[in-house]
């Protein structure tokens, strides 16, 4: 339990760090984006909205920076991430609630699947070393060096658009209305296949490589020799003794790399115009929609932290050494 508590404390600390970074950065932006926005909106916004924007951007010169900071945190806890510039006056939180599920679905599922598949292949590659499996290594290395989004572009060229197998953009067919009926669900799944496959191919290779290396390192441990001496079946030694132990550093590696994965997969969304958070980030950057960019940064960071916590929980289950019973 001590392990878990320490991890939670760490994540809270990191969340605080992210929030603080978010607080200070806009104060570096020159000029007064809010004023120009207000000028454009010409009095359509009410004063409380203006006030929240001011707090967000620290333009309220009457308060000291400390007071601004606490006001900002208070705002966050109420779920107020400010108003988006491009979708003015829609609050950022509302904009995000539309796009977040798409990303969670696509990215979440493909990341987990690619980790599982990659790890499985890595176990085989590490165990049956020296056979044809070794030829897979250079291919996988090359694939893992390709930027995700470029692979997406290629995929679209080859398989989509104008009579291709897959739709080239969007999360669902333009004519279908989002709801939970079969039409929509099917359309959504269909549209997510190509992006998903792109992400899978790019990220899986990383896992294959690290799992393979861990298997090789673990294979020279004493308990593997003991397992062989015990006359256990090849499968049992490979799975219960080798893979089970090789998995541990990879699970922590997975947790740590979530931040990196997020970066890559966001780009896939851009390439496919997939209506997720990544695509939104792209548009927000182009439109200099600071509140939206900040909101996305926070949301992404917090999601990664939560995912990390899950991975830590799984690690706790897998490695008995982290559980200190009485």
């Amino acid at each position: 339990m001590g392990y878990l508590l320490r991890r939670v404390a760490f994540y809270l600390f990191t969340a605080w760090a992210a929030i603080t970074i978010n607080f200070f950065l806009p104060r570096l932006i020159p000029g007064d984006p809010v004023q120009s926005l207000i000028a454009r909106a010409q009095g359509q916004i009410d004063t409380s909205a203006i006030k929240s924007l001011y707090i967000l951007f620290g333009l309220d010169n009457e308060q000291s920076i400390v007071e601004q900071y606490f006001a900002y945190i208070g705002q966050l806890f109420r779920g107020d991430l400010g108003l988006s510039f491009t979708f003015f006056p829609t609050p950022v939180s509302e904009v995000l609630s539309d796009s977040l599920p798409w990303t969670l679905g696509l990215v979440g599922i493909t990341t987990v699947v690619s980790f599982l598949l990659g790890t499985f292949l890595g176990v085989l590659a590490g165990w049956w070393r020296g056979s044809w499996v070794d030829f897979v290594m250079p291919v996988t290395t090359f694939l893992s060096s390709i930027p995700y989004f470029w692979l997406g572009l290629i995929a679209i060229t080859l398989f989509a658009g104008g009579g291709g197998l897959f739709p080239s953009s969007g999360g669902f067919d333009p004519g279908v209305v989002p709801s939970w009926d079969m039409d929509f669900v099917w359309s959504a799944v269909y549209h997510s296949l190509l992006p998903a496959i792109t992400i899978l191919i790019s990220s899986m290779s990383g896992w294959v490589l690290s799992m393979r290396n861990m298997m090789l390192t673990v294979s020279s441990e004493d308990y593997i020799t003991v397992a062989h001496a015990k006359g256990l079946s090849e499968r049992r030694v490979m799975v219960s003794y080798a893979a089970r132990n090789a998995l541990l550093p990879n699970v922590s590696g997975f947790a740590l790399s979530l931040g990196l994965i997020v970066g890559g997969t966001l780009l896939v969304e851009i390439v496919f115009s997939y209506p997720g958070v990544g695509f939104q980030l792209f548009q927000a950057v182009g439109a200099k929609d600071y509140p939206l960019v900040q909101g996305i940064f926070l949301v992404i960071t917090l999601s990664v932290l939560v995912a990390n916590l899950f991975a830590d929980l799984i690690y706790l289950v897998l490695d008995p050494r982290t559980r200190k019973e009485g």
Partner: protein, 335 residues
């Protein structure tokens, strides 16, 4: 004369292939008899562990068995050369007939499985028809055998002390009631008190179950107390083998003599502690002739030229011992 249960004939084990190969075990002949404790002593790098693991083909790459035979005589049925068994047959053979108690139990137990799982899985692998309950019951008995409480079945290796882990290894080695148990430095990593306890336990178990033991260690003093026969290894070869009492009374090979004089005797007349000057040979660059001659206080002419063979000493005819030293093959040198 007891019948042999394990006969090693002309075993050569290398690390690597071709010219760069290191010859770790050279032309070893060794016989383990039924019910006996055979001690195998030598410094690190002498090849004793390589011999033990090589026997069962457990050496990691780049280990290779170059030549030789390891003949096992089962209870009933024909003798079989372990080195000629197929992988599947070797797997069935391992642990059921010959098991190993590994050294450094710190890393020899799988850290993510409970003690019970590790005891039961070997039973399940060799006797698939047993039920889980029956296996657990046997695991409990095995732990009792080595003096560990049954509530430790659910513990993980990191929750056990060093001595306990070693006892679990011993229990595990006896799970299938093998005929031969190889013990590779089973007490080296433990403190002296624990060493004594574990050895006492081993003696008891042997009396009860009656397996033969190949006891490998660098600590000759343990062997003198504990074993029936002792074989000394140096530079990958057996240089002397004799009954424990005979060896203790008088070691014929200068190396064995040096080893005996490296530790104080608890009982009997006081002896001078000497030790052996120099360091063990580099297996990749062995001296010519007898491997020990650079360090030997009694080296003479033939020692640097020709390697002595492991044979009955001409100077002590009739005793059940072998030594590879020109001092004791004087007539053959002259004749």
């Amino acid at each position: 004369m007891k019948e042999p249960v394990l006969e090693i004939k002309g075993l050569n084990v290398d690390y690597g292939l071709g010219e760069e190969a290191v010859h770790a075990v050279r032309d070893v002949d060794l016989t383990l008899h039924r019910g006996e404790v055979l001690g195998l002593a030598g410094e690190s790098g002498s090849g004793k562990s390589t011999l033990a693991y090589g026997m069962l083909r457990l050496l990691p790459p780049p280990g290779v068995i170059r030549s030789g035979q390891v003949v096992y005589h089962p209870h009933d049925g024909e003798a079989v050369d372990l080195l000629s068994l197929s992988t599947a047959k070797l797997r069935r053979f391992r642990w059921a007939e010959v098991s190993i108690v590994f050294q450094g139990a710190m890393n020899s137990l799988n850290p993510v499985h409970t003690v019970s799982a590790q005891l039961c899985d070997v039973i399940a692998a060799h006797e698939p028809r047993t039920t889980a309950t029956a296996r657990r019951a046997r695991a409990k008995d095995l732990l009792k055998l080595v003096g560990i409480n049954a509530d430790r079945l659910g513990s993980y290796p990191h929750q056990l002390s060093g001595g306990m882990r070693q006892r679990v290894m011993i229990a595990m080695a006896l799970a299938l009631e093998p005929r031969v148990v190889i013990m590779d430095e089973p007490t080296t990593a433990l403190d002296v008190v624990m060493q004594r306890q574990i050895l006492a336990q081993l003696v008891q178990l042997r009396e009860r179950i009656g397996f033969s033991v190949l006891f490998i260690t660098h600590d000759l003093s343990l062997l003198v107390e504990f074993s029936d026969r002792i074989a000394i290894m140096y530079g990958g070869r057996i240089v002397e083998s004799a009954r424990a009492a005979d060896l203790y009374k008088q070691a014929l090979h200068p190396y064995s003599d040096g080893l005996l004089h490296s530790f104080p005797a608890l009982r009997g007349p006081r002896r001078e502690l000497t030790g052996i000057p120099g360091s063990p040979p580099d297996l990749g660059a062995m001296p010519s002739g007898c491997a020990f001659h650079p360090r030997c206080p009694k080296a003479f002419d033939p020692c640097a030229d020709t390697m002595p063979l492991l044979e009955a000493p001409t100077t002590h005819p009739g005793e059940d011992r072998n030594v590879a030293c020109w001092l004791h093959a004087v007539e053959r040198v002259r004749g």
